[in-house]
């Protein structure tokens, strides 16, 4: 047997004593600073958030940023390819409209619809899920069968018919139509969370402390569901962008001349690959927004769980 090295008595390092002498102040971190810290460690999410903020700003300030009006014709430059020299960076379409301006306005329309869908669908889904999961029994049965009914609707057919008769190419109307079809997944998730959370001791403790049902739902259970709700909401944003694009692509969503990202692709694809920029730029924007929203959702999920200190890689 080899002799074990005798552990040396630790000599007090001068640095250590110095820090103690200097009086280290232990500062309590708030929950939000923890969440911020965890989110900040998620590099991809931070980058995506910055990208989204930029895209959002572009959408908000579309009228100032766009070099041209989205329907202004430049008859000298019809279907000209992207160029950094002229004033059409993204080129022009077959009517000579500046494509950069059209994409910028397209982002505005698509983001508006997506956010509208996300908020309305989240509101409906959370309410239905919460009531269903908390009360259970007949209420649950009724609401969940209604949810199933919505889920079993032939999605695209209903969407197309509704867009024609109710949508009228108006972004707000299209947003509401999408929202009424998108809340079901969230409702099921929230219901599941409520079913398990309502059995928790802290809910019983809140009841024993005299809290009303509404108070328990909103103040005690809902904050415990914020993580999954936010994540689902980001998924809805991404899905709404894609669906609105598909809808516009099929010609049932936003009506011309107002540009939307899907609409732009639809118009561009008739020209095939000869005018490649017409499909590529709005396509890239859709992919970029959908990806960024998903990454941010990922980062938020990790950041918002107060019991979790470590960051999932």
């Amino acid at each position: 047997m080899t002799e074990q090295p005798v552990p040396q008595p630790a000599t007090a390092s001068p640095d250590l004593t110095l820090t103690y002498d200097a009086g280290v102040e232990l500062k309590a971190r708030s929950q939000w600073s923890y969440a911020r810290m965890r989110f900040m460690r998620h590099r991809l999410a931070v980058a995506s958030l910055i990208a989204l903020i930029l895209i959002g700003l572009v959408a908000i300030f579309a009228d100032r940023l766009a070099p041209h009006a989205y329907d202004a014709l430049d008859l000298n430059n019809i279907a000209s390819p992207p160029t950094l020299e002229g004033n059409h960076w993204f080129g022009t379409d077959f009517l000579g409209r500046d494509y950069l301006s059209r994409v910028i306005y397209g982002i505005r329309t698509s983001l508006y619809v997506a956010l509208l869908v996300a908020f309305v669908a989240t509101a409906i889904g959370t309410t239905v899920g919460a009531v269903s999961g908390y009360y259970g029994g007949q209420v649950d049965n009724l609401l969940m069968r209604f949810t199933d009914l919505i889920l079993t609707l032939p999605f695209l057919a209903v969407l197309l018919v509704a867009s024609v008769y109710l949508g009228h190419g108006n972004p707000t109307r299209v947003g509401f139509i999408l929202a009424f079809l998108f809340w079901t997944g969230l409702a099921r998730i929230v219901r599941g969370l409520f079913l398990s959370l309502r059995e928790k001791e802290f809910v019983e403790a809140a009841k024993a402390a005299g809290a009303s049902d509404l108070r328990i739902i909103i103040r005690h259970i809902l904050p415990n569901c914020i993580g999954p709700i936010v994540v689902t909401m980001t998924l809805i944003v991404a899905l709404a962008i894609l669906t609105e694009a598909a809808l516009s692509f099929l010609g049932f969503g936003i009506q011309p001349p107002q540009p939307a990202l899907g609409k732009l692709i639809a118009e561009g694809q008739t020209e095939g690959f000869s005018l490649w920029w017409l499909v590529t730029f709005p396509g890239l924007m859709i992919v970029l927004i959908a990806l960024a929203v998903n990454f941010v959702g990922d980062g938020l999920r990790d950041a918002l769980d107060p019991t979790q200190r470590r960051v999932r890689a």
């Binding site: 309590a28 708030s30 929950q31 928790k200 001791e201 802290f202 019983e204 403790a205 809140a206 009841k207 024993a208 402390a209 005299g210 809290a211 009303s212 108070r215 103040r219 005690h220 904050p223 415990n224 914020i226 107060p306 019991t307």
Partner: protein
Amino acid sequence: MPEPVLSIRDLTVEFGTEDGVVRAVTGVSYDLYPGEVLGIVGESGSGKSVSMLSVLGLIPQPPGRIVEGTANFEGEDLLKMPKGKLRDVRGGKVSMIFQDPMTSLNPVLTIGDQISEAIKAHRPGTNDNAANSRTVELLEMVGVPFAERRVQQYPHEFSGGMRQRAMIAMAIANDPTILVADEPTTALDVTIQAQIVEVLKAAQRETHAATVLITHDLGLIAELADRVVVMYAGRVVELADVFTIFNAPRHPYTVGLMKSLARLDADQEWLEPIPGQPPSLITPPPGCAFHPRCAQSQGREICRTELPELRPSSDGGDHLSACHFADELTVTHVRVAAGAGG
């Protein structure tokens, strides 16, 4: 004796399960007097928690069902009280301390939020500052150090003992008339248990609340309780003051419990367990529910056929026992039995 603050009569509670109807509590009656600590002991499933939870409307209905009974509190029957009014009673005049402080606090709300919410729920219009300073005061009272800073922390930043202190602070926030402690020390380790016992004593001194202590820890009963209710298979089998319960129990089940305790004052080689299992509450044994495990019955007919009533025992006073042969259990009998292992 003064008027009881809470008087439960003939409480029967059932739970519908897939295997049949479980009678968790059958014909339970007891009184709670102002300022006293009433211990309720019994093994798991004896109905000790259910009797209290159902009075406060905290059992899920269905599957739970209160078959009959009354629970008189300040001239009103809690069991017939409308939901909203009962909610005001809960956490206000009657508050609870739960078993597991790890799960009884909401993980996403700060300790301060949770305590001040309990205050605000029962005193609408309390402003945030007042609620907050009361919260700090409460936490200091139950011995949470740096209370001012710790109100902003979340439950996961508290240790088990500190969480239970916070639970106690929440329970006494509204100066309750009745404090129900449901196994308050079971989830804690032994050194912390001793501290929490002190905190409970202090909380009781402070609020003068009549306390119901539900536990299976006889040590805790000896430490805190004034009177003791012993429950078995959903029924009260013995009721007496704490000295009588420990020194002269008049029910074979209580005797069995005492014999199964490890004692420091006797030289025991083995502990004497009560043989057998607690009965199924779906099909309880006929007669006295304890007869299959009873050392006293010795197979006598009456134990199998007739349900013993809870009646005053021969040593008089307020000592009640539900055993046909309560008088056979004498003081010497118990003493000898307790020392028999040694």
